[in-house]
Symmetry: C2
């Protein structure tokens, strides 16, 4: 096997996008006070990769322009529709009236493992602060919650890593295998 | 729904681990010249989370003790069986004789989307340098290659993000949904 590089890589990616991007589910992503710019940058890069429909930066989440967001996110905040909204609860309620199923990425007393549920066609994933997670008042507005199973000694993974795992699973499931 | 915290979080995670960790597939992870310590740290944290059986740091991959690896990896190099091996090719060949299917995480002329194939029970994932990927000589020793689809403007995701997406998919598929 031979690595694709240069023109053949670009052609492959363009063809893939043309053939598959239209079948992606409608995903909204809400960052409720994600505090590290590196995580926000990485989340922009991930949001571009899976064509998140819109992304909301809330509370203390740093916003572009920001050097770290630009560098870690490879400028992808320019390719993602993003908005700042002070209160995550407000945008969650607005998205709900638009027909989104609101799912928190959080370990709660009713959380399901992220890979064991069927996701609806319009889904809003809410992720929280690195230390405190999704707040009680935001959780009260969510329809469901999922968690990424941990099988080792650690109690958690980085928020951008978890988000990538869950979002790729959702588009894999929804776009048909 | 209510966030799990403190003792109830620890109890939940312990029970989850006891019930499910035994069913995980046998995964080996080879880092061929991953150059950033932050990526290596993050990969240790991920490797612990999904109980990678063994992890090989090759070539120019930085190794513990390393401040950034420790900080980003949350000390998880202490909980993962890891080894340094100068030439990735040597350990790939050794793992092959141990019965591992060798899969490169690389976009090649024969790559499959990571979520569209059935993985065998013993799997070795090979990931490469942030800029250059898996080398030609290592690819020549691999049984297959997979890629993480990109639907946006970007051409790639960070190596630790891609690795988490693929490894969580493999254990989700193998451990039964």
């Amino acid at each position: 096997m031979k690595q694709l590089r240069g023109t053949s890589l670009k052609r492959f990616l363009r063809d893939w996008r043309r053939e598959h991007a239209a079948n992606l589910p409608d995903i909204a992503l809400v960052l409720q006070s994600v505090s590290y710019p590196a995580n926000v940058g990485s989340l922009f890069r991930i949001a571009d990769a899976i064509r998140v429909n819109k992304m909301f930066l809330c509370g203390i989440t740093p916003t572009p322009p920001n050097q770290t967001i630009t560098k870690v996110g490879r400028d992808k905040h320019n390719d993602v529709s993003w908005f700042y909204e002070k209160h995550a609860e407000d945008i969650i309620q607005a998205l709900r009236t638009e027909g989104y199923h609101i799912c928190a990425l959080e370990l709660t007393d009713t959380s399901q493992p992220y890979h064991q549920i069927a996701y609806p066609d319009k889904i809003c994933l809410v992720v929280g602060n690195e230390d405190h997670g999704v707040t009680r008042s935001a959780l009260a507005l969510c329809d469901s919650s999922v968690f990424v199973p941990m099988y080792g000694k650690g109690h958690s993974l980085n928020v951008h890593v978890c988000t990538a795992v869950v979002l790729y699973h959702i588009i894999g499931q929804k776009s048909g295998k």
